[in-house]
């Protein structure tokens, strides 16, 4: 889901809280994954100047070219409808 959120607008920079909300994940899931993606060269992370004056710069993220290919090759799994145990016999 995080890759999908980053892939939504491939060149756009995203911030941590925004990504967590877009992907519907908690910060405890988000940051370890972002760190791993950056380490593998799939993610660019840099301090971006603030949009509003007087605000501190923010850490922002976007997929690299390799990251975009990786995200396209690994789309989010479709949600399973209902409880899988209900369809087992």
């Amino acid at each position: 889901m995080i890759l999908a959120a980053l892939l939504e607008v491939p060149g756009a920079w995203r911030h941590g809280y925004e990504l967590a909300q877009l992907a519907g994940v908690k910060s405890g899931t988000l940051y370890p994954l972002l760190i791993r993606l950056e380490g593998q060269g799939y993610l660019e992370a840099e301090w971006r100047p603030p949009v509003e004056a007087g605000r501190p710069p923010r850490h922002a993220y976007r997929l690299t070219a390799a990251g975009i290919r990786f995200a396209q090759a690994n789309p989010p799994a479709p949600e399973v409808a209902g409880n899988p145990r209900e369809v087992t016999i």
């Binding site: 941590g16 809280y17 910060s27 405890g28 988000l30 972002l34 760190i35 992370a45």
Partner: protein, 383 residues
Amino acid sequence: MIGGLWRGLAILVCDILKRALPAHLKDWGSAIRLETAGIESAAAALRFAAGGLCGLLPLILAHHMRRMVRSSGRASPSAGMTFHPRAVGIACAIGAVGLGLGYLAMAGAPGRYLGVNAGALVLGLCGLAAIRQAGATVRLRPGTMTLLLSVLLLATAVGGARVDDAARWVNLAGLFIQPSLVLLPLMILDFARSPNRRSTWGMILTAAALALQPDRAMAGMLAVGLAILAMRRPDDGHVSRALAGAIAGFATTLIQPDRLAATPYVERVFQSAFSLHPIAGMLVLAGAALLLVPAMVGGAHDQDNQDIHAVFAALWLVALVAAALGNYPTPIVGYGGSAVIGYVLSLAMLPKAAHARFLGTETLGAGNTTDATEHRLGCVALA
């Protein structure tokens, strides 16, 4: 008011996270702090910060463990491995408090409970630094600290705050602190380091104080800690006399009724955490296990301070077992600042740095190197 407290706590969590992160990941700590500061809802900010800390905790622990192993591996076997039991203890304390905060948040504990535990960790670390500083500047005769602190415990038993016939607490500006949980581990370990007439009297007075309070868990901690020491030093008269006093004190607590009911998030935490959710139970178990890691690491590598590591492990194991069996505070992972401070302060008695002895090194090395190796092994920094 509560919102401000939560926001302050969220920033504190971020600062702890940033400090704990390895240098190459500090930027991520700053990023989480800035994101947290920008979140409008204070509760959401705290959840975001705490989530970040919990999520990155395995990475932090793995980094510090790797660094420890690397620094050990750099030294040649003949020079002995150097490692840092106190630093391991601090990392474990931070980890255990973090896991405890995770449990408390999952269990829906009031926000101030999380604040108290996190604040106690900061206080404990400040206290640890103060003890280190005092050790370098204040010269007390060995055993004096234990004796003075035992008088404090006795004063708590006589004039402390009472709940259901138990007098274990002192009221500090509206905050009830359990001095025995703060001081006892430190005192027992201090006694283990320098048993003499003065510290033996300190132990006996402590046993009397715990019998008067009465507090089976703490009296048990004292008796078991001293029993472990007596087994390792059977010829030490001071240890035997202190153990006799501790057993008498523990027996006295057993024949007195203990009517204290369990307090949510403080006692019966092991049982309630697993009833809540398996993950909550695992957080509590992992946090409890972390408390014993410094002693396990020390016991495995630090041949010159085996007694200290064995007593340290016994003390905190007794506290955990008492919490699992009776209505006694669950150290660190449950709500309660006293245990957090007590654990961190007790780390002051672990060696700051120690040189490990490799079994068989002497037989592998040349004969004339043994003395030099033994000399180096004696250079264990306990300050």
